[in-house]
Amino acid sequence: MPRRANVQISKRDLAYQQMRLPLDELLDAHPDELIPLDIGVDDIGGELLSILSTGLYTNPLDCIREYVQNAVDANASTATIKITGNSVHVFDNGDGMSLDEIVQARQFGLSMKSLSQHVGFRGIGIYSSFHLCNQLRVTSKKAGEKYQHILVFEFGAMKAELDQNKQRDTHERKITLVELLSAHTKISRSRHTLPEDAHFTHVEMQEISDVHIKKLGNREELKHYMIRNLPIDFDESFEHKDQINQQLHLEVSGYNAIMLILQTDGLPDIVVTKPSIPFLQPPVMGPIISGTGKNARKIGYYWACLNAERDHIAANARYDPRVLKNRDILKAIQEEFRAYEGFVYKMRGFTIGNRDRLRYCFSPKVQLYPWYTGEIYVLDTSVIPKADRDDFETNEAKRALDIAVMQQLSALEDAAESFQATGVADERVEKYSREVARIESEVEANTQESDFETYTQLNDILKDLRRQEKKASPKNQPIARDLIKLAERLQKRLANETETSQTEAARRKRAAKEEKPSPLAQQIPTDTLATFSQERLIQLESSSPIETISYASQNTLVFQHPRDEKYASSDIMPTTSNMVEMSQHSSPSVTLSLQLSRTLSQVLLEAGWSLDGDCKRLVTLLEVTLENIVLDKLLYQSILADFEDRLNNDLPASV
């Protein structure tokens, strides 16, 4: 093994020697040493431009994204994409570029943008439309400057030259990248003067091929692509817009959400915004922390909104004002909202991957993931998105991020579970307050069908109320406690009555003679009651916004939207007290659900299950079977209560 030269040659000395000595002699002079090998301008072929732009930008929409991304990096608040004839324009009201900046913009693979402030940092984006169009024009003006400058890339001529290059013999000299770009890149200054404070950038792709223009002309695809890949602002009507934006501006460096306008020949403009999903809980926001103690550091920031309706985000499509005007578009809005179910990674507003990527952070059994909509902004600059932005490059930072996000999302899942349990408990308290009120009035009038049955009914209510009391919201907890006391008092009274003189048979006889129907039955014709169960099933299946059906007079059914009138302006759903108040004093209409026993599907839905496809069929089958076999209403209710218990306490079926 030859000895290493013991004299260290500095890079500078070596460069000097390289200039003077042929490589062969230089290698002789430094045997067994790795010496730097200069790459000159002539060593980089023009074909590199074609290779890079094809490799990095496989979809023509990627090019549009690159130019809008530049607009975002330039602090634009609005960007317009216009497709007319065979040209595509991207115009933004961002800072614009001075002469120096526009000259820099043409640099290849060199970017002045900072990794922490901007998404575009590879310095290749301006060439993304190389394969798309024959000419790219960038016109820009910076505020305070007198002129606008126009940078023109003759991509058509470049492509023609590269084609000629390919025809040449292998030993012939090929055009270099520098020669190619220098020959077909031009700049001009416009004499057309604008107000000094005007600032904008206009990117125009001229002479796009028919195939590409057709793809770009698909407005729905373009819209969804842009929403997915760009920091698009929320719709003006979204109630939490300001709160989320304000916080993201504070916490996420370089955050800038823009309004995007799509213009196409012969069609009305589309303003692209993130949809306004109604009835979401106020956002929960906070940092994503990696490590603990001294090693703790903020690597991300998240916001999350939970569906206040305790359902999938898509289910809230039924409350969208567009649906209330035209029910045919419900499906389309559901699809639109579904795209926002769950969480997605964002890097300075740009989406990385899709919302399915983080689904694994939630337990698959409970299915609470789609109840949330939210975003996770990655702040750690060591986490690098892949060029196609479907994920991050694998490294330590990415692993740390995934772990920290999983912890945060687990906490959110717990919060959702607790929210669900509270919701169920509140509903039960409300339901029992009505039932206990009814029983109380029957007992007062001594018209209950059977002391024993009523006693058992109260027993079931008490058992469940004691379980739900702690889970109920603070507002409903005292109501639950009062109800428990009342139910216990009624039970005691019934027990006393059973022991005293009046026999059950005599009381039943009197009740039958009086034929006094229940308060509800007093107001509802029997044929309505008979058909109600069927109507109710239809209502559940169609996800109708009509959730409560009230009976107002002899022949009129009143359909109430769940957020109607009194409750529309309130942050809370009806409580036990106001429901009772409603039924007793305010209106002659009585809520029908008072009288109905719950069904299996209702219990499952309340527990947060989603019943689709085979699952739904199975549950319907079970319901029918139960109804056919279990003829005793009380037994049926007991089975349901037991089932519900198991559901809520997550007991295995074998216990």
């Binding site: 317009t80 216009k82 007319t84 004839g85 065979n86 040209s87 324009h89 115009f91 000419q135 024009r137 016109t139 606008q148 126009i150 001009s188 416009s190 057309h192 604008l194 005007a198 904008f200 206009h202 125009e204 001229q206 028919d210 306008i261 213009q263 020949d265 012969g266 403009d269």
Partner: protein
């Protein structure tokens, strides 16, 4: 592609044309007009008439024939688009690439795109439905090709076929220079074969005897008649406004015409035979010539011999009263006689 803006052109656009657009909107009982035309890279017309035009506007821009022209054309198209965005009027604007004559004749631009307002039929027979057409040419009316065909004239004829059944306002601006040769004089001689009253022949002779330097008078005499004739065969009732002569960019002698074209509708359907205009041959030949100099509109000092200022008022009634008065009260004929 029109010339760059001049003081005269701006005055015509803002005073004369604007008043005509407003009157047409009133007549058609609409709020805005759809546009088809040649806005040019500076889009002066679109900016000046912004509040009168519908968002559906179609502009055509030549792509050039030589390499140099093509480069220039791309530059012009780029400027046009930038100016649309800067002015905030990009929404609804369609830019077609190609000579406007080709777009009218073929129903397509060079990329195969069709004007956005069309009836959906195949391109060669499809109808357009624009409310306003502004053909602001930099060249003359007729540049004949090798076979002697003037494509621009053919395109004008086709325009009325394309617009058949849809009333529209039509502005036509041309350079007085063309290669129509004797065809202009032949047209006037053709008119002479008709008998239209006592001063008819005398008036036509006066136009025929104009020198080459006064070619604007000859064109002023025949263009309204030509447009009326071709429009009537496409069942329009044509009303010509007085032509305006002005000096444009690089001292080019230009003529600006305006026509109101009402589609003749019978029982809710377009009539089949022809339209009959209210103006006859003599009315057209007797229209006054307006001149625009230093941004001021005025009656040309030289008018045809049977010119009668008292008859002018009705053809200027679309203008604001003060401008009408200025025009009529400041007429000084070629002999220096001031009429008040």
């Amino acid at each position: 592609m029109p010339f760059a803006d001049t003081e005269n052109k701006a005055a015509i656009r803002r005073i004369w044309d604007r008043a005509l657009l407003q009157r047409w909107i009133q007549k058609q009982n609409c709020s805005h007009l759809t546009y088809f035309g040649l806005p040019g890279p500076e889009i002066h017309d679109l900016i000046d008439w912004k509040n009168l035009l519908d968002s559906r506007r179609t502009g055509a821009e030549s792509i050039g024939r030589t390499k140099q022209e093509r480069l220039k054309a791309r530059d012009e198209m780029g400027k046009l688009a930038t100016n649309l965005f800067i002015a905030g009027i990009s929404s609804g604007f369609q830019l077609l690439r190609g000579d406007v004559e080709d777009v009218i004749l073929d129903g397509l631009d060079c990329d195969g795109n069709r004007p956005q307002i069309n009836d959906g039929r195949v391109a060669h027979i499809s109808k357009f439905g624009y409310d306003f057409v502004n053909l602001d040419f930099d060249g003359g009316l007729g540049y004949k090709d090798g076979a002697g065909a003037a494509r621009r004239v053919a395109a004008l004829k086709k325009l009325f076929e394309r617009q058949e059944g849809h009333s529209f306002l039509f502005f036509l601006t041309i350079n007085v220079r063309d290669t129509m040769g004797d065809e202009i004089e032949d047209y006037i001689r053709g008119l002479q074969t008709r008998e239209r009253g006592p001063n008819w022949q005398e008036t036509l002779n006066w136009y025929l005897n104009r020198s080459d330097g006064e070619r604007d008078y000859k064109l002023k005499a025949i263009i309204p008649s030509f447009i009326q004739t071709i429009s009537e065969t496409r069942v329009f009732r044509c009303t010509s406004c007085p032509p305006i002569a002005y000096e444009g960019h690089e001292r080019a002698h230009m003529l600006h015409f305006a026509f109101e074209l009402e589609a003749v509708i019978l029982n809710g359907r377009t009539a089949n035979l022809r339209g009959f205009s209210l103006q006859d041959d003599f009315d057209l030949i007797s229209l006054p010539l307006i001149r625009c100099e230093n941004g001021q509109l005025q009656l040309a000092s030289k008018q045809h011999p049977t010119f009668n200022i008292a008859c002018c008022a009705s053809s200027l009634d679309f203008l604001p009263e003060d401008i009408q008065k200025t025009l009529l009260h400041t007429y000084v004929d070629q002999f220096g006689t001031e009429t008040k």
